[in-house]
C-alpha cells in the first residue's frame, strides 16, 4: 500500500488543536485535524473563562467576531462554610482593557467556531473519529490509528485533552498520572433569563462574573466550587483533587448537591432549568508534573501536555492551550522548512514555550499545587472568616470588643504561627 502522507495530523479539535491547525494551515501546510466528537466542542464540558490576550496576533479581531458569552467584569472569590459565605468582589475598568480582557465561553459553541476558522484557513477537519493509537516506527511517531485505518504524517500533534492516552503511547507521559495530578470536576448548566442573570449577579448587559468558592463546596478537601455566568445560562460546579476521594465521605455529586442548596447559592439559580450536566478530569499537577512535550515526530499541546494553572483565585488552561499551540505551530513550520521532524528539530517547541507566557506563568505558580494541599485553606480559614465577620457584624447588645481583638482572638485559635506561615507561603507561591 502506498502511504499517503500529510504534513501534520492533529489529534483533538479543541482550542489547542484548532489553533495549531489554524496557524499551520495559514502557513500552507497540509493539516488534518481529527476530533472524536461530531463537532469540535461536542465533548467539551468546560464552563469557564478564556483570557483573550492569547489571541493577540492570532485572531486580531477576536473580541468582535468570537462567539463569547459575557465579558468578565466581576472577579469574585468566596470563603464558604456550611452556614456562611464571605465574598470579595472586584470590579474595575481595568478588567475591560482591550487585549487584556477575559470572557466566559461555552466550549460547545466556542470550539466549533474556532475549528471553523481553521477549516476556512485550509485545515481538513475529520469529526466523529477516535484516534486509538499511534504508528511508531524506530521510536518515531509516523501517524495515527483509528479502528482499522492508518494515516501518516511528518508530525503528529497531540491535543487530546487532560485524559490523553496518546501522550503515554508516544512515550511523553512516562509515569502514570497520579490522583494528585488530576482533579475531578462536575458541572451543571442552568438556563436562566438574561435579565435575571444580570440582576442576580449585579451585571450590566453583556458583562459577566467569574466566581470561585473555597471551603464548604469541596467538603474541606482540596478543590472548590465555581459559578460562571453565560449569556442565558449559569455554569455551576465543583472541582476536587482526585486523590481526596480515596478516603472521602462524600462523592462529587453529593458535594455538588449541597453546594447548590447553600443559602448563598440557591437564590442565584432559583427558578432556572437544569439543561446539561457533565463530569470531567482537570490536569493540575503544575510545572513539576509536566510530561515531556515533544519527541521524534510528535508534540503535545494544551491539556494533553498538562498545561493548566490553578492559582486558587483563578484557573487557567485555555490561554495556555492557545500559547502552546502557537509555539508548536511555529516549531513545526520551522521543522518543515528544514525537512527535519526529529526530536532535536522539534525541540524548538520547548524553547519557544519556555520563552512564552505559558512557561513563565507555569514556573511562577510551580509551588502552588503543593501549597493548595494544605487543608487549612479549605477548612480552618473559611471558618475563621465566618467567626471574624460574625464578631464584626452580629450585634446583640453585649459590650463589643475592639475589631483587632476580635480578629486576633479568632486567628489565635488556628495558631498564629500556622497563619503567618500560610500567609507568607501563599503569597510567595503566587
Amino acid at each position: 500500500m502506498s502511504e499517503e502522507k500529510f504534513d501534520v495530523i492533529i489529534v483533538g479539535g479543541g482550542i489547542a488543536g484548532s489553533v495549531t491547525a489554524l496557524l499551520l494551515a495559514r502557513a500552507g501546510l497540509e493539516v488534518v485535524m481529527i476530533e472524536r466528537g461530531n463537532y469540535s466542542g461536542a465533548k467539551n464540558m468546560t464552563g469557564g473563562r478564556l483570557y483573550s490576550h492569547c489571541f493577540n496576533g492570532i485572531i486580531p479581531d477576536f473580541a468582535e467576531i468570537a462567539p463569547i458569552e459575557r465579558k468578565v467584569m466581576h472577579e469574585r472569590v468566596s470563603m464558604m462554610t456550611e452556614t456562611s459565605n464571605f465574598t470579595f468582589d472586584y470590579t474595575s475598568d481595568r478588567l475591560a482593557q482591550p487585549g487584556k480582557e477575559s470572557y466566559i465561553v461555552l466550549r460547545g459553541i466556542f470550539d466549533r467556531w474556532l475549528a471553523e476558522q481553521a477549516e476556512k484557513a485550509g485545515a481538513m477537519a475529520v469529526n466523529g473519529i477516535l484516534v486509538e493509537n499511534l504508528i511508531i516506527r524506530d521510536g518515531k511517531v509516523c501517524g495515527v490509528i483509528a479502528g482499522e485505518e492508518q494515516m501518516f504524517a511528518d508530525t503528529v500533534v497531540l491535543a487530546d485533552g487532560a485524559n490523553s492516552q496518546l501522550t503515554t503511547k508516544a512515550g511523553l507521559q512516562r509515569k502514570p498520572v497520579t490522583p494528585h495530578q488530576i482533579a475531578i470536576g462536575a458541572k451543571e448548566l442552568f438556563e436562566l433569563d438574561e435579565k435575571k442573570i444580570e440582576g442576580r449577579f449585579n451585571l450590566a448587559p453583556g458583562e459577566g462574573s467569574a466566581w470561585l468558592f473555597a471551603g464548604w463546596p469541596s467538603g474541606g478537601m482540596t478543590g472548590g466550587g465555581f459559578i460562571y455566568t453565560n449569556k442565558a445560562s449559569v455554569s455551576l460546579g465543583i472541582v476536587v483533587t482526585a486523590a481526596e476521594f480515596i478516603n472521602a465521605r462524600k462523592s462529587v455529586n453529593e458535594l455538588l448537591e449541597q453546594f447548590k442548596a447553600h443559602s448563598a447559592v440557591k437564590p442565584l439559580i432559583e427558578g432556572s432549568k437544569l439543561i446539561e450536566y457533565s463530569g470531567h478530569m482537570v490536569a493540575e499537577g503544575g510545572y513539576g508534573m509536566l510530561p515531556r512535550l515533544y519527541s521524534d515526530g510528535v508534540v503535545a499541546v494544551g491539556d494533553a501536555a498538562h498545561l493548566v494553572i490553578n492559582a486558587g483565585y483563578t484557573v487557567r488552561g485555555m490561554d495556555l492551550a492557545v500559547g502552546s499551540a502557537a509555539a508548536a505551530a511555529a516549531a513545526i513550520i520551522s521543522a518543515k522548512s528544514r525537512g527535519d521532524f526529529s526530536e532535536k528539530s522539534l525541540s524548538m517547541y520547548k524553547r519557544l514555550l519556555d520563552d512564552s507566557f505559558v512557561m513563565r506563568d507555569m514556573r511562577r505558580f510551580r509551588k502552588y499545587p503543593r501549597f493548595m494541599e494544605n487543608r487549612r485553606i479549605f477548612n480552618e480559614y473559611p471558618e475563621m472568616a465566618d467567626e471574624i465577620f460574625a464578631g464584626v457584624f452580629v450585634t446583640d447588645g453585649a459590650p463589643q470588643a475592639s475589631m483587632f481583638s476580635k480578629i486576633f482572638k479568632t486567628a489565635k485559635k488556628n495558631g498564629l504561627r500556622n497563619l503567618a506561615k500560610d500567609c507568607i507561603k501563599g503569597v510567595s507561591t503566587l
Binding site: 488534518v32 481529527i34 463537532y39
Partner: protein, 250 residues
C-alpha cells in the same frame, strides 16, 4: 447502474424543545440526516454503481457539515436544491421537486427511506415514482439488482413477498434492511473533496410546487405532572404499595 438516493435533512429530535403553549421550538435544534435515509445510502453502496445523493429543503438546509457527513457514507456526489419556498415542504411539494431534479440528473434506480425521521408520512417515495411514471416498491427489506431489473422483498406478517420490477424504478427501504456503516477517517477526508451541485428551483426550470396540505397547528401532547410522592425508609413498603394502589385506582 446510476443510483440516486434521496435524503431528507431534519431537526435533531433531542434538540427540539416544547414551549409552555405546547408549541415546538427549533431554535436550538441541530440538523441531521433523516435516520431512515442512512439505510438507503448504505443500500446504494452495497448495490454499488454510480451513486449520487439528492436532497431538497429551505435555505437553512444548506449545511456544510451535513453535506460532508452524507458524502462520507459513500455517494460520489451530492445534488442539493434549496429554496425558501421549500422549507417545511409537504410530501407532494417534495416529490415534485425530487422528480424534476431526478430527471435532470438521470437515474436507473432511486432509493428512499421508508419515511422521514420527522413526519414519517411514507408518501414522498410513492408520489415520486408516480410523478416519474416508473414502478414503486415500498416497505422493502431486501433488495438485489441484476440485468436491468430489481428483485425486492417485502416482509409481511406471515409471509415474504418477492417482487421483480424493471428499471428504472423507485424503492423505499425499511430500516432493518441493513446496518449503515460508520464512516472512517479517510471516507470523511475524501468527502470534503467530492463535488456538490447546488440548484435553485429556477435551475430546475420549475416554479414552487403548490401547497396541498395546510398545517393548522403542531402541538406537543399534554404532559402528565409527576405526583412527587417520595417514600423513604426500609419499613415503608406498605405505604409505597398503598400509594401506588391509590394512584392506579384514581
Amino acid at each position: 447502474m446510476n443510483i440516486l438516493v434521496c435524503c431528507k435533512i431534519v431537526y435533531e429530535e433531542q434538540d427540539i424543545s416544547v414551549l409552555p403553549d405546547r408549541g415546538l421550538s427549533y431554535d436550538r435544534a441541530e440538523l441531521k440526516l433523516s435516520l431512515y435515509d442512512l439505510n438507503a445510502v448504505e443500500q446504494a453502496v452495497q448495490l454499488s454503481g454510480n451513486i449520487r445523493a439528492l436532497s431538497i429543503g429551505g435555505k437553512n438546509k444548506d449545511n456544510g457539515k451535513i453535506k460532508k457527513n452524507l458524502l462520507s457514507r459513500g455517494p460520489q456526489e451530492l445534488y442539493i436544491v434549496t429554496d425558501e419556498a421549500l422549507s417545511g415542504a409537504d410530501t407532494h411539494q417534495t416529490a415534485t421537486v425530487l422528480a424534476a431534479a431526478a430527471k435532470k440528473i438521470g437515474f436507473d434506480l432511486i432509493l428512499c427511506g421508508e419515511g422521514s425521521a420527522d413526519l414519517y408520512a411514507q408518501q414522498t417515495g410513492i408520489q415520486l415514482g408516480e410523478l416519474l411514471g416508473v414502478p414503486v416498491i415500498s416497505s422493502v427489506s431486501k433488495l438485489t439488482a441484476a440485468d436491468g431489473k430489481i428483485i425486492a422483498e417485502r416482509t409481511a406478517d406471515d409471509s415474504v413477498d418477492v417482487i421483480e420490477a424493471p428499471l428504472p424504478a423507485v424503492v423505499c427501504l425499511t430500516s432493518d434492511i441493513n446496518e449503515p456503516r460508520i464512516p472512517g477517517m479517510k471516507d470523511i477526508l475524501a468527502a470534503g473533496k467530492k463535488p456538490v451541485t447546488e440548484w435553485s428551483l429556477a435551475d430546475l426550470g420549475i416554479a414552487a410546487p403548490e401547497v396541498t396540505v395546510d398545517v393548522i397547528s403542531i402541538l406537543a401532547p399534554v404532559g402528565k405532572d409527576r405526583k412527587r410522592i417520595i417514600v423513604e425508609g426500609d419499613d415503608k413498603a406498605t405505604e409505597l404499595f398503598d400509594n401506588i394502589k391509590n394512584e392506579v385506582r384514581s
